[in-house]
């Protein structure tokens, strides 16, 4: 419905500006704080304009100069850890779920429905619910303090399987039949037809899952004691509870800005595919 009334236009813009402000202001605060020196925060007020530090805080945090982060590893190393974790989780989830969805939709095997419902049921059991048994398993497998421990338990994904299943079911069955007549076996059909058709869905899922993996907090906190495997999100919380003294807000905000960057880059870079994957079916 497109109406053209002046007061409607004004209201519309007011609402939008309010929305932008609500989202934008905290980011502004973080960005500004990251350029101030620690002395600016003594009064307990957040500065609202850039300070003199410039990129100095970023340099210090990225290289962990003077142990500003309170740990022995630098922010760049922890970002690398986070990146590996997010990538492995996102890619792993996509690979596993696209294959299981393919099996469930295109093959008739005994207990096919049971398999699907079992996968579906795990939707009700997110990481937080099964965290103790999962920890127990990971610990007994000796995967504490390792990339495998950080990623593997988070890879199984009912949501992604379900999404791919829905998408595969919307692909006309005659495509599969045409491929069979054209001499494409199951693997060829998957590789030549289904995978290229799923590109948009894969991209959309990748964005969501990458951010999911990047933002993991509880799980890495539980299974890492070795600072070498700390992730960037973990260290923010550690900084906030660092001792009795003044909380180093400038360092926290610098780290926060750094932690926000990769998801933003992924979203911006894949925006087009992301939107397509969520709304559009290839004609």
């Amino acid at each position: 419905m497109v109406e053209n009334r002046p007061w409607l236009t004004v209201t519309r813009h007011l609402v939008l500006i309010l929305g932008v402000f609500i989202i934008g202001f905290p980011i502004w605060i973080a960005l500004v704080a990251s350029t101030n020196s620690s002395s600016e925060f003594v009064s307990g007020l957040m500065p609202l304009w850039f300070g003199e530090e410039g990129f100095g805080n970023f340099r210090r945090v990225l290289a962990n100069e003077e142990r500003v982060l309170g740990v022995s590893v630098s922010a760049s190393w922890m970002m690398w850890n986070s990146f590996i974790m997010a990538m492995v989780i996102a890619v792993g989830k996509i690979v596993i779920s696209i294959m299981s969805a393919y099996a469930i939709v295109y093959f008739r095997f005994p207990f096919r429905k049971t398999c699907f419902w079992l996968i579906f049921l795990t939707l009700m059991l997110p990481v937080e619910v099964r965290i103790l048994p999962t920890y127990e398993v990971v610990a007994s497998l000796g995967m504490l303090n390792s990339y495998a421990g950080l990623t593997i338990p988070l890879i199984a994904s009912a949501t992604a399987t379900f999404l791919f299943r829905q998408f595969f079911m919307s692909v006309p069955s005659s495509l599969m039949e045409a491929a069979r007549i054209d001499g494409a076996g199951p693997l060829k059909f998957f590789k030549d037809i289904l995978l290229p058709l799923s590109v948009n869905n894969i991209a959309a899922l990748f964005v969501i899952l990458f951010i999911y993996g990047w933002n993991q907090y509880l799980w890495p906190l539980l299974i890492t004691t070795d600072e070498d495997y700390y992730t960037i999100v973990m260290v923010i919380k550690r900084l906030m509870s660092a001792g009795e003294g003044n909380i180093p807000w400038n360092i926290i905000m610098t780290t926060t800005i750094l932690a926000m960057l990769p998801p933003v880059i992924v979203v911006l870079g894949m925006q087009k595919l992301f939107v397509k994957g969520l709304i559009e079916q290839e004609k």
Partner: protein, 360 residues
């Protein structure tokens, strides 16, 4: 060069539903066989069994005297054109047509040559680098045809290929398909629910109903001598009129006032008050003088089609709605009383109990 032969083919689904019962068909080399019938009659299932997309639960299927029941669709050397075209949306027209050849490990330059030749025949050379999404329905149909002919298969299978096209294109493509099939002289099985398509395309026509074959033969033969009431009612547009009657020898009593003397030596001579159904096509009732008329139709509804006019009315003394086709130049009004004479040579009689044709 191929023959296809279906011997006692059965299809029973896992839930016990029998879709096809003892289907026997022999398709000779280069023939266009059309399967026609209402939806759910098993025509598509039969075609898909020939293609290998449905398993055959009983009987034998031969292509060129080789039993192919257990062969994969790709090993049967057939090509199929689907109702929704089933083009791969992410591939260009060229890739779509080349995919089957590529999977058969045909050398690249040969693929190039074959695709270009097929494209030329179908006049889609300028579309080769487009994707299916950018094409119109008719163009997609051509590409789907191209994908079929490029492999030069033993058998073409068509599964209602024209149903998604608009009326004008359908006629155009119908002619095109006929031309191509004759040019290539490839054996073809064509499934449709459209009886006009069936009549025009078929070398031989198979009318199916509820998993059984009602009649097989050249279209004109089926039109002129339908073996069952079902075939009679299915073929021909507008559809044949059916009137309940009773037969005594050659005397057909339609109502107290309307009695027809038929002159058919093949009618059962011993017929005595036999319940029959008279089938008479709308175009086989002639307007005439009142004195010569068999009955008078009180016109209830008029559909002028230009060349012809269709008149609807109730057969006097009954509740049977009948259709009469008259030349379009004549003007009719609702309530018009039209004396009609039934063409005795073109009456079809069916046993009311069995639906089978009586007489010749």
């Amino acid at each position: 060069m191929a023959t296809v032969s279906l011997k006692n083919i059965n299809k029973t689904y896992a839930n016990g539903h029998q879709a096809i019962e003892n289907l026997n068909l022999d398709i000779t080399d280069g023939e266009m066989l059309v399967l026609v019938g209402p939806s759910g009659c098993g025509k598509s299932t039969s075609l898909r069994m020939v293609a290998g997309l449905e398993t055959i639960t009983g009987g034998d299927l031969y292509i060129d005297d080789v039993r192919v029941n257990d062969l994969e669709p790709s090993e049967r050397d057939i090509a199929m054109v689907f109702q929704n075209y089933a083009l791969y949306p992410h591939m260009t027209v060229f890739q779509n047509m080349a995919y089957g050849l590529k999977n058969r490990k045909v050398p690249k330059d040969e693929i190039q040559k074959k695709v270009e030749k097929a494209a030329e025949i179908l006049e889609i050379t300028n579309l080769l680098h487009y994707k299916p999404g950018q094409l119109s329905g008719g163009q997609r149909q051509r590409v789907a045809m191209g994908r079929a002919i490029v492999r030069n298969p033993k058998v073409f299978l068509f599964d209602e290929p024209l149903s998604n096209l608009d009326a004008k294109l359908r006629v155009q493509m119908r002619i095109e398909i006929k031309r191509l099939q004759q040019e290539f002289a490839t054996t073809a099985i064509y499934v449709t629910h459209d009886q006009v398509e069936a009549m025009t395309l078929a070398d031989r026509l198979v009318v199916m109903n509820e998993g059984n074959v009602e009649q097989v033969g050249p279209p004109i033969e089926l039109y002129e001598k339908p073996a069952t009431q079902f075939v009679a009612g299915f073929l021909g547009s507008p559809a044949m009129n059916f009137l309940d009657a009773s037969l005594n020898g050659n005397r057909l009593t339609l109502s107290a006032d309307v009695v027809l003397e038929l002159n058919d030596p093949n009618l059962p001579a011993d017929a005595h008050d036999l319940d029959v159904v008279l089938g008479i096509r709308p175009e086989h009732m002639e307007a005439c003088e009142e004195a010569e008329a068999d009955f008078t139709l009180s016109v209830d509804m008029i559909e002028p089609l230009g060349a012809d006019t269709l008149l609807y009315g109730y057969f006097p003394g009954t509740e049977a709605l009948i259709t009469s086709e008259q030349p379009g130049k004549q003007q009719f009004k609702r309530g018009h009383r039209l004396p009609l004479r039934v063409d005795r040579e073109r009456c079809h009689l069916f046993d009311k109990a069995t639906g089978k044709r009586l007489g010749s």
